[in-house]
Every structure is written in structure tokens, then in C-alpha cells.
Point group: C2
């Protein structure tokens, strides 16, 4: 019988939790809205309820002795060593919270469950999820990039998470590719996130539409309400051949490729797994990214360059969280 | 008795070789001009002569059984696994040469020496040299950056060389920080080397001097012959308070700091050892680099940020090459 774990994706909107068998993957899962108003203590109670529920369900068919633990992927700065979560951006009012210890303690006290909890940030967990269950299975070394509201990343070296000396590695979105430019995010100029985060994509699109003499057909997709414009609209318009939208995705992909070139130069990582909502644009973004990646690296580093879509979608968090227990 | 090795720094101008005791460091060294005209075969003969000479000298006092090997740091793309050197920039006419095997073979055949040869690129060797004998001794993890004609690097993680999946890691000079800019090197736009390599520093200085309304005193240091202008002249002028030269070093340091910020974001490395001829400018370049490094990273990543000068100077290559044998 293989090992199993509970994998929990603690998001600002929802808590997603699953029973994950090391070999067979997700066997059952749950999703509840995150009770952000209840603060760190309330979240622990909420997590404990879901854990208790899933643990009972798992116990019906799985060997409790084979339970490798409870894995938790959380937004923001997580210290996997100390088990603390610091100022998670989507959980307002949290400061530095010893979430791992709090949860372990609560489970022992209130649920008579003595199970180790493993915690890491969501991008790291997602990278590990793709490594064990998704697009990264074939790669020993890769970078997972998540393209969404933010631009995040997780590094896998030798099939293991690379967390870095202080545990903050993989912040691809904070790499600077345009230090002379005007884009800015978290006070830092020219970062990848400042250029291709969701907001920046939409703003760039608005500027390109405005500057376009021949106009754009994207208006049809957002009811001509450019305040509502989203990457999805730009994706649809590009797929129908809208020149402005196509140019937009070319530019976004090209900037992504430039950022990845820095990863190739510095770390010699040549495999990239691209996930997150924006990656739904598919070849619209993958093709120019790979083209630019080749243009922006030495020919001696082109061998094996590959960009592939992440496979686990919104399950990556749960898979990755469970994978934290199998490491 | 501690182990010892021969450490050889194969440069385009000179071959520097030393007997290195693992504990006591360099015991004796030699320096001969590189006979670049003789090609790969000639270099092997030249290397074998120096090795034979130093080995005999070492044998007088050291235990041959304690010889860990012959380490060789070479310019350009070196594959440490296969022992090949590819198109070294400073050795014209070389293509892909199995230098390690050729040298081992020659030493067995002509010198009756059966000693393993270890080879890596000079920046990697220098990083390992600083790790074991220089400024990196106090750091578990750091990046060595060499500022000279080119901008190179070597990564130490957990006191070991990080070579990357294909052995090309650490190419700091090929990180892109200004993809919209006009600077270019090896066909890639906005790389760190295109911005702060020796040539670019001098070109930027010429432009700044020309654009300056109040003039610059750097002319005094280069006999008013701006074709001869070198970073050293700019260093002297800056130290005498020349405003243009000071502004130049501020800008160079700031660009270096921006590049290092990418290393912090991606790898969570926070210690930087800076070597190479240009690093002689000292605080002129270190101070603005550290300032910019702080401005270009999240406050949560400022803990432990440090820039220190390399300590081994032109001995780093020999130390590092020997260190390849002790790994």
C-alpha cells in the first residue's frame, strides 16, 4: 500500500483540500470559501474541520500508519523551516503567524490527531505538484512560472524543491529586465511582474488599443467597456485575428522569454513549466516566449530549451501541498 | 599530512600554476606566457612541462600518495563532466577539445604521471577558490562575480560549486536587465556584460565626458588621449573628486546592483564576492551597487545582503583549480 497525505491549498478565496495517494493521486477533495474575516485563529479552526472530515473519510480505506502528513500551501512568504507565514497578501490582517505549529497543536487538542504538518508557499507547492504529478514528471530540473495576478515561481533541482538559503528562492516576478523603464511593482522598477502581471497586461492592451490607428476588435468581447477588459477578452480577440491583441501577446510572451533567459544564464535551467490563469492564452504566449528565449541566450545554451504548459491547473496547489509530505 | 594538488590557471596571456596544500595554501608557483600559437596540442605539451616541473618539486617534501590531482581552470565553455573545452575566447583556433583526457594521456605517456585531471571554467574555479581560501570562507552560499573585460560568475551553494544541469550555470554577464536598451553583447541586448563590461564602461565614460558641460579631470590621467581611456583612469579621477567619473561609477555600480537583485530574487543568494580587475574601483562601485541592490529587492529579502571584495586576486584561478581536486 502506498503512502498518502492530505494536501491543502490555502487561498484568499477558497480552501481546497484533498486526500492524495502517493501513487494514484487525488482520491477525494473538498472546497470551501476561505473565512478571511476570522483571522489566523479562525482559519486554523476552519482548516482543522476540513482535515478532520477528510481524515475520517480516508481512514475508511487507507492505513493511518501510511499517512505521511498534512501539507499546506499558502500565499506569500512562508518559511518552510520554521513553519511561519508572513503577511500573506490575500489574507488581510495577518502578520507573522506560526501556522504550522498552531495547526498541529489545534489538531492534537481538539481532534486527537497527531499528524505532522508541512507548509510552504503556494508557488513552491505547485512546482512540487507538477514535478511529481504533472508536466514536470519528465524533467529533473525545471522552473514553474505561474502567470496570474502576480508572477510567481518555484524551482525544482534534481526533482527536489530548491528553496534557497533563506527559503525565498523562485521569485521570478521580481527579476528586473527593464531597469530604465517606467513600470513598477512593490516599489521596484522594471520587474517581470510589473510588466506581465495581469493588471499590466490589461493596461498595456488599453494603451495599444488607443494608439492603434486601425482599431481593435477586442471591444466586441468586453461589451466595449474597456474598464472590464481582461486577458481572457484579449485571448479571444487574438484567436479571431485581431492585430492589436496578437501584437499584445507577442510582446507579453517576448518579455516572459527575456525573463526566462535570465534563468537560463544564471541557473542553467532549460525547462519551463508555465501555469496560472494567464497561461491559458497558450501558444499566443508560449510561441513568442520561446522565440525570445532563443534570441536572448547564447546558442551554446539552446540545447534542450523547452516551455510546456502546467498540467494540474487548479489542482496543482493540492497536489503540491501533499507532495510536501512525501519529500 | 594534508592533501595537496597542482592548480593551473590557463589564461589567454599566461599559464599560472601552483602547488597547493589543502590546509596551507599555495606553497610554490610558476608563471609562463601562454603559447597560443601552438594550438591545443602545443598547450598540452606546455602544461605537461609545468606540471612535471612542479610535481618533481612537490615530491621533495610532499607525499605523492596525498596528491589529489591536477586542477585546471580554463576560459570559455568547459564541461566538467566530459572534460572538454569549447571555443575558448582567448585561445584562437580552438574548437571543442577534450583537454582533460588529452592532458591525462600525455602525462601518462611522456611523464609517467598517472594523476587525475579536473577541469572547469575559470569563473567556477575562482568561485571555488574564494570559497575555500578567500572571501567566501565565511559564506555557505554566494555568487562570485568577476568584473573585467567580461562579466563572469560562479555559484557556490552549500560550499559546493553549483554547475547546473548542463554545466553552464553562473553566467551572470548574460542576465538581461535592459531589454529595451541599445547595448548589445554576443548578439543579446541589454545584458549585464553589454552594460558594465570593460569596453562598455569606457564607452559610457566617453559619452558622459562629451555630454558634460563642466568637463572632466580624467583627461589628466590619460594624457588627454581618450582613445587610451581605461577604467583605472576613471578610478583615479573619481578618487580625486571628478564629478563625471563619480557619476560614471555610480551608474556602473547601480547596474551591477540591479543584476545582483535578480540573483537574490531567483536564487535567494544574498552574499556576493566581487573580483576581477574592475573591482579594484572598490567602494566607488561597491557602495552604489549595494544601495541599488536594496532598492531593487523586497525588504523581506534584505536580511544578510552583503557585497565583499574577492581576496585572492590573480591567485584565485590557481587556488580554485586546485580546489577542484579537493571537492
Amino acid at each position: 500500500m502506498s503512502r498518502w497525505a492530505l494536501g491543502i491549498d490555502l487561498g484568499g478565496t477558497a480552501i481546497k483540500a484533498a486526500i492524495v495517494d502517493e501513487k494514484r493521486g487525488i482520491l477525494a477533495d473538498r472546497r470551501v470559501p476561505t473565512d478571511t474575516a476570522s483571522g489566523p485563529e479562525g482559519i486554523v479552526v476552519q482548516l482543522a474541520e476540513i482535515i478532520h472530515d477528510l481524515y475520517l473519510l480516508a481512514s475508511e480505506t487507507m492505513d493511518p500508519a501510511k499517512c505521511a502528513g498534512i501539507g499546506l500551501g499558502a500565499p506569500g512568504a512562508v518559511n518552510a523551516g520554521t513553519g511561519t507565514l508572513s503577511y500573506p497578501p490575500n489574507l488581510p490582517g495577518w502578520s507573522v503567524v506560526p501556522l504550522r505549529d498552531n495547526l498541529e497543536h489545534y489538531l492534537r487538542q481538539h481532534n486527537e490527531l497527531s499528524i505532522p504538518v508541512f507548509i510552504d508557499n503556494d508557488a513552491n507547492a505547485a512546482a512540487l505538484g507538477e514535478a511529481l504529478y504533472g508536466a514536470g514528471r519528465e524533467f529533473r530540473d525545471f522552473l514553474l512560472v505561474t502567470l496570474g495576478t502576480g508572477v510567481g515561481g518555484g524551482i525544482i533541482l534534481g526533482r527536489k524543491l530548491y528553496r534557497g538559503p533563506s527559503g525565498t528562492a523562485g521569485e521570478v516576478g521580481f527579476m528586473i529586465i527593464d531597469f530604465e523603464g517606467s513600470s513598477i511593482h512593490s516599489g521596484i522598477k522594471g520587474t517581470l511582474e510589473s510588466l506581465i502581471g495581469k493588471k499590466s497586461i490589461v493596461e498595456l492592451a488599453r494603451r495599444m488599443i488607443e494608439a492603434s490607428s486601425s482599431g481593435s476588435s477586442v471591444g466586441r468581447f468586453c461589451d466595449n467597456d474597456y474598464a472590464k477588459l481582461s486577458p481572457r477578452h484579449l485571448e479571444h480577440a487574438a484567436k479571431e485575428g485581431d492585430a492589436v491583441s496578437l501584437a499584445l501577446w507577442n510582446r507579453i510572451g517576448s518579455m516572459l522569454g527575456t525573463g526566462l533567459a535570465n534563468v537560463v544564464a544564471l541557473m542553467d535551467i532549460r525547462k519551463f513549466v508555465i501555469g496560472g490563469g494567464i497561461s491559458g492564452a497558450g501558444s499566443l504566449i508560449f510561441d513568442p516566449a520561446l522565440d525570445q528565449l532563443r534570441l536572448s541566450t547564447l546558442p551554446s545554451m539552446h540545447d534542450g530549451l523547452e516551455l510546456v504548459p502546467a498540467l494540474l491547473g487548479n489542482k496543482a496547489g493540492m497536489y503540491g501541498a501533499a507532495a510536501l509530505c512525501f519529500g
